[in-house]
Subunit: 505 residues, 2 copies
């Protein structure tokens, strides 16, 4: 028996409130609004708008009728997706049927699905990946897509749909809920390793814990290599667009010499040259102490937060380069210039995720250095962390999220996001809630159109996690106070196996 | 308490024979020769040559006198090095002293050392890395280096020295043993994540298990991402020069679609173009089955085993390019051409380890493909695996190797390699042996000079591990029969925590 099989045979822990699904009540009266643009949001979601936040409590058993439910995974992989489906499946009343749409939301549009049976689900319990039914990035937006989706749902006689995805997918869930009306209830489940889907009811999205623990294992190993070999500077780029939550969490776990936090850089308005100078100073000072090695963490989205690079990218996307833009461009290493100019997406936009930010930083810093011994090594950790075997936290959290979605559907609610609350408490004390997706919406320009969106939660520079980081980082620069978290453990002392993300508090 | 601290507090398991160190006997009569060039080896090692292989058994207790011992870590990091030192420390008779030379063999030459106390060693028990005393790549070869080393050893009044290292470091241990004579006993311990130090008494070198399990965790995660996202081809280069043991072990653990085994390619004499064609055919066929994703493993040393690239590198090192060589060079992607021509070591040689073989392969295959959807992603896994928290196997194996070295020293033997045998058996049945390093030697040209060396053990194309791989790989090409080993576990079922490398049998 290998680790995957062993884990598949184990039952996730359930919060007390979810141990008797028939007894869960969801209650709330106070109507909600939204983050901004109330008029527009209300116009676009006339039925859903204003729904109250519902909180879970335990009451007398209620009778629940069997349901026909569809479920879909949307967007990038995150550890625990399979457990959301397992939790949903197990929470549905006897006689229910669950259909998985294949390859993401496109499977709803095109009518590709599979009935999910107990036997089929069994081998995916507690497993990483989204391979049970696949995922995809189709957004159901156009009138035709909506119509075809409705046809698929009607042909299957579905009474409900669960959308497991990130900020955009949850927004899309609200769009679908509004479109499908009272016939079909739609519930969203908050997923993304980026950690940028956060609010008072979503302390962290699922997948973040496993991804950051996997990256931290590797960063720790690399840090240990650095102080053993004493000759390499490791520049580690970490997956996660926009927000730097992943870099912050990994920094707190491994205590590297230097970590870029995009939000702080944007806030400070520092120029790229200043950032490079600061890093070069650290490297020079370490060299004077005989330390020609180190570890530097770089969030994937960094360059969009550095003012002059942000402008440059905007100019390149528009196809007009100002004098200032030209100057910025030509100061970059040639490989990066090439990537910025040549590598465009189908809309002609710069593909920011293709830019080798780790190379950019180390090439620029190299030019700045006066020392001789500088051997940089580049790393990018991304795919390695999205599909790992879910940590206990992600496995339990996801299973509870799936159960919570099942509860919301049994209560006949639609347009809600399934939330598991109080996750900083021991599992038995976790709570459940249903959050109106519309209450999270504002309006932003996307591809030239004004669209309802859930605002990405960025690193809060006044929050405890960032403050803890910023109070220690100066000493980390020189003290080599690395931590080596090691691989995720599934057995052994609770202190090790049951830990939750450090940025959750 | 975190995982590192928890592991530091735990005692490794010891084989039965090492549980009472005072009772271990080492016996053997039959004199040995060497692999080849007997006359030269005998001339260079007049004292050591011909020593018998000694095997451990249990007898009556013998009295052992306290020893003053030096220990040094040599070459690249490998998980478990700290436990070799801990095992050695614990095995020395009461009243002994242990000194660690700092920063590798250079620490012996320059007299940089540190006394290793029980308290100091405590926090390094079962930990990864070589940071307890550092490591380095200095070879003690010149008359001056030898003389200075002797002075250091004499000034410390050392009676013995333990050299923990790979093939070259163990050869160097024999050179030192011969030079230092009967005053100082020198013992080698076989280390290298590459797995290329193998013989009947060394079934695998330490560090291989942790490195390959760490790489396999990540390859498994990536494979799971591949079948979930269904849109990326992952090209994974794996650390390990020359031999492909790491790639073979990882292939057996994760069952990727395609794995290059350098030794097989050299044996077949296949041209690069043939290899690329074969890979391209697989990718095209998978595409026809709707599979535009996959996982390809590439051993770091590959290009030195592809006949025309091997010749090209030789020509570039000599500085004379033939017409054929020029043709081969110009058929390569421009970035690789540049690396081959520009990136030289201080001797003017091509730095093979700097060549982005994974990029080379994917760029060439891209040119060959007629399909549209091909999104390759490059990875290099190396540093991530050298300093991980040692697996149970590496932790126990290393601790036993250290104890074995202590036993050999207590028996007043020199020029021996410490061996722990029968590692395919349960730990209690593991044996110990002392192998004359001279018996492993042959002579090879190194940097223009004929030198005694331990031949690197390459993948045996007639061995069971390769045969098991080659019998299954055709089906792995198309069946997506990936395995996801997950992270190394230190607690839980024995079947999971106590596994040993698959190539050991």
């Amino acid at each position: 028996m290998d680790l995957c099989e062993q884990r598949a045979s184990e039952a996730p822990k359930l919060p007390k409130i979810l141990q008797n699904i028939d007894q869960v009540r969801l209650e709330g009266q106070k109507s909600t609004t939204c983050i901004s643009h109330q008029e527009e949001i209300e116009k676009q979601f006339p039925t859903l708008f204003g729904a109250p936040i519902l909180k879970g409590s335990t009451g007398d058993s209620i009778e629940r009728k069997p349901l026909k439910v569809g479920v879909v995974l949307s967007g990038g992989q995150a550890a625990g997706g399979h457990n959301v489906i397992a939790g949903l499946f197990d929470s549905l009343p006897k006689g229910s049927k669950l259909f998985g749409f294949l390859g993401g939301p496109g499977g709803i549009v095109d009518g590709h699905y599979k009935e999910l049976t107990s036997q089929f689900i069994a081998s995916y319990r507690n497993q990483g990946g989204f391979d049970m039914i696949g995922s995809g990035r189709t957004k159901i937006e156009s009138e035709e897509q909506l119509k075809k989706s409705k046809e698929t749902i009607e042909s299957l006689k579905l009474e409900a749909l669960v959308v497991i995805g990130g900020d955009d997918s949850n927004t899309n869930a609200a769009v679908l809920a509004e479109y499908l009306g009272s016939q079909v209830n739609v519930v969203g489940v908050p997923k993304t390793i980026d950690g940028d889907l956060q609010n008072p009811y979503v302390q962290i999205s699922f997948g973040f814990d496993t991804a950051t623990k996997t990256y931290s294992e590797m960063i720790g190993n690399i840090a240990r290599d650095a102080i053993s070999a004493k000759k390499y500077y490791h520049f580690v780029k970490l997956m996660g667009r926009s927000a730097s939550h992943i870099a912050l969490e990994c920094a707190l776990r491994t205590q590297p010499n230097y970590t870029f936090i995009s939000e702080e850089i944007e806030h400070s308005g520092k120029a790229l040259s200043e950032l490079i100078k600061e890093l070069a100073e650290m490297i020079e000072k370490r060299a004077r102490e005989g330390k020609n090695y180190g570890v530097v963490l770089i969030p994937e989205g960094l360059i969009e937060f550095i003012p002059e690079l942000k402008s440059l990218i905007l100019e390149l996307n528009r196809g007009e380069l100002s004098k200032e833009g030209e100057k910025v461009l030509h100061a970059l290493p040639s490989a990066i210039q090439e990537q910025l100019q040549m590598d465009r997406d189908p809309h002609g936009n710069v593909q920011v995720s293709h830019i080798q930010t780790e190379k950019l930083i180390l090439e620029l810093v190299k030019k700045e250095l006066t020392i001789e011994n500088f051997s940089p090594v580049e790393h990018f950790f991304g795919y390695e962390g999205r599909c790992g075997l879910p940590s206990h936290f992600d496995a339990n959290y996801c299973y509870a999220l799936g159960s919570c979605a099942g509860v919301i559907l049994s209560h006949g609610k639609t347009g809600y996001m399934a939330c598991v609350t109080d996750i900083h408490q021991p599992i038995e004390k976790w709570g459940v809630a249903a959050l109106p997706i519309t209450s999270l919406l504002c309006v932003e320009e996307r591809k030239g159109k004004m669209k309802p969106v859930i605002q990405k939660a960025l690193v809060d520079l006044n929050g405890a996690p960032f403050k803890s980081f910023s109070s220690k980082r100066e000493s980390w620069k020189y003290a080599d106070d690395y931590r080596f978290p090691g691989p995720i453990q599934f057995y052994g002392p609770d202190l090790i196996t049951e830990s939750i993300p450090l940025i959750v508090k």
